[in-house]
């Protein structure tokens, strides 16, 4: 069996951050006694990503997503634990490793600001030692795919944010990396541009079998690209499994929509009434109670229609971020649901 493209085992990153109170007095005191706070940005996370998988890495700001990506791309040394990407230890920053990965940060420009992107691409050819014919073929393929033929001849400083991100992505992929770490690649872009970049990532993955670990605050990115998501919060993994099953883990409620004859009927005994529009009523009921409430409603009332829905994924993710830690999920235990083609077990302890 092929080794996973990315393997992370009990990975930790702790920062020591100097801190002091405000004011002159505290400033003078800090000259003699410096105070540091230990911040555990990543706290013992473990996961594996198979070759060719696209995985969404979700979490609120400060959850540890970017720190993890930086450790996996060799920018940061882990405090402890193990990380392997394509068989390499990222922190060793071996040339062969750096030639096979890329990290795209949505808020960071890596191209020459004053020159057309084509000049930066040429520089990348020299950096990655790409044979010219192969480089030209891939460059033109990428330019076509993202439709940036007119943009790559303009100085980068003259491009809009969205245009810059597109030419940036082309530059990041010219060496045909096997693993893509994408940190908010669509941040600040309009919906059309977001869609274009999503399609491009999917196409690159399809054509080159690349492994992708993607962070994004836009659920549309995640829903379009990722069958599997890893949810991280306060440095620990809360969920690792198919996107479709994230609700099983975190949804506490279901939404029941019913159509009844009497539009003014009191339904508060069945659940929280969320909305009422003539005879159409939306109820929120605890997930565990759904079957019983549904049966009661059908028995007690003249119900013309009834639907049971999961809340939108976006709402579920928001709920996960909003809560400190869901019941049953401890800091030493993580949920790992099986995602084809990974043979990982339903659950495993860290």
């Amino acid at each position: 069996m092929a080794a996973p493209a990315v393997r992370v085992a009990t990975l930790n990153k702790t920062f020591f951050v100097p801190e002091r109170d405000a004011g002159l007095r505290a400033s003078v005191q800090s000259l003699f006694k410096r105070r540091h706070r230990e911040v555990r940005a990543v706290d013992g996370i473990s996961f594996e990503i198979e070759s060719g998988e696209i995985v969404g890495f979700l979490g609120p700001n400060g959850a540890g997503k970017t720190t993890t990506l930086k450790m996996l791309s060799g920018l940061l040394y882990p405090t402890s634990g193990e990380a392997r990407v394509l068989g390499h230890v990222p922190s060793k920053r071996e040339r062969e490793f750096l030639r096979r990965i890329t990290l795209v940060m949505g808020n960071r420009n890596q191209l020459q600001w004053d020159l057309p992107a084509l000049d930066s691409y040429e520089l990348n050819r020299a950096i990655y030692r790409l044979p010219r014919p192969e480089f030209l073929e891939l460059r033109d393929e990428m330019i076509d795919l993202l439709d940036v033929g007119d943009l790559v001849r303009k100085p980068v400083r003259n491009l809009s944010l969205g245009e810059r991100m597109k030419v940036e992505i082309v530059g990041s992929l010219l060496h045909r990396p096997g693993v893509l770490f994408l940190d908010e690649p669509t941040i600040g872009l309009d919906v059309t541009m977001q869609k274009r970049i999503r399609e491009f990532i999917a196409e690159y993955n399809r054509r080159h079998g690349a492994t992708v670990l993607l962070t994004s605050h836009y659920m549309a990115d995640v829903e379009a690209l990722c069958r599997r998501v890893i949810v991280i919060h306060q440095g620990t993994i809360l969920f690792d499994g198919p996107l479709a099953r994230i609700g099983d883990q975190f949804e506490a409620f279901k939404t029941l929509t019913i159509e009844i004859e009497d539009p003014d009927a009191d339904l508060s005994g069945y659940g929280a009434v969320l909305a009422r529009d003539n005879g159409r009523v939306k109820l929120r009921v605890p997930k565990a109670e759904t079957a019983r409430v549904t049966a009661r409603l059908l028995a007690d009332r003249e119900v013309a229609d009834l639907t049971v829905e999961d809340p939108p994924i976006e709402d579920v993710i928001e709920l996960v971020f909003a809560q400190e830690r869901p019941a049953g999920v401890g800091s030493t235990e993580t949920q790992r649901a099986e995602v084809p083609p990974s043979p990982a077990p339903e659950r495993e302890d860290q």
């Binding site: 940061l76 940060m105 020459q112 004053d114 000049d119 030692r129």
Partner: protein, 278 residues
């Protein structure tokens, strides 16, 4: 040719390709901002012109020479000084401080090439533009100050190498200092102290023969002289062939020492990089 030799030749060709491409990119950037670059270079002339006027005046008051250096030789020294000074402008510890504080080093670290290559190649491209832009300035200074300059072919050849040696010595010296910024994000105090020392012991403020004997002796053991006084003197002075070649050897030795020091500190420094700012 063995596989090993072929691999090594391929590696060198790749580096050459990179340096050429990066240098060319930088020249394009500099030519795009040619007016700004030119104004900046002209602004930098204030320092040598002050030195030149002071020493020319002193020399003329002392009968046309100061400790054996004639007025025309002072003029030649400070005109060549302007080029050597430009060759000495490299990526400073302030640059490293900015890179680390803003997280700008991240992009360089993602490439399969040590960031020092980018600094060396980028600034080298800038130097090529600088030399081209310097020629008209030198012509004006030549007409204004009438220097005594009659170099041999060997001196011109050694000077052509020595200015690049000076560039590499100062690059590696500043990189070694730049490593300090991984431990403290405020490196200015140490940097300014060393710049003051360099000003006195490099030949930048005054030609070294005008300094006290102990200072000249001390300068022999520091890199500053080899990045400033020696390149100037190789063209305007009257050094023997042995002194010229010995000077190039001393430059090579300092480049090796300072590169080794930078790489040694780099191994520990990079572990401290926190990639903040992005």
């Amino acid at each position: 040719m063995s596989t090993l030799e072929a691999g090594e030749a391929g590696r060198l060709r790749s580096y050459f390709d990179y340096y050429l491409t990066r240098g060319r990119t930088q020249i394009q950037v500099n030519f795009q901002y040619r007016v700004a670059t030119y104004m900046w270079m002209i602004g930098m002339l204030a320092e040598p012109i002050v030195y030149l006027v002071v020493w020319t005046t002193i020399s003329e008051h002392q009968g046309g020479a100061v400790q054996g250096i004639s007025t025309g030789e002072f003029a030649a020294y400070y005109i060549v000084w302007t080029l050597v000074r430009n060759m000495n402008i490299v990526f400073t510890p302030y640059g490293w401080e900015w890179r680390i504080r803003e997280g700008e080093l991240s992009a360089a670290l993602l490439r399969p090439l040590h960031p020092l290559h980018d600094d060396i190649a980028g600034f080298a491209g800038w130097k090529v533009a600088t030399i081209l832009l310097w020629l008209p300035i030198a012509a004006v200074l030549w007409i204004a100050f009438d220097p005594t300059l009659d170099p041999t072919l060997l001196e011109v050849g050694v000077f052509s190498l020595a200015i690049w040696g000076a560039y590499l010595i100062r690059t590696m010296f500043m990189s070694t200092l730049g490593m300090v910024t991984f431990w403290t994000t405020r490196v200015s105090a140490l940097f300014e102290l060393l710049i003051a020392l360099e000003l006195l012991l490099s030949g930048r403020l005054v030609p070294l023969p005008l300094m006290p004997d102990w200072a000249q002796e001390l300068a022999n053991f520091l890199p500053f002289k080899w990045s400033f006084y020696f390149p100037i003197q190789s063209l305007v002075g009257d050094l023997s062939t042995a002194e010229l070649l010995g000077g190039l050897a001393a430059q090579a030795a300092w480049i090796v020492i300072l590169t080794a020091l930078t790489l040694f500190f780099w191994r520990f420094a990079i572990r401290r990089y926190s990639a903040v700012g992005n």
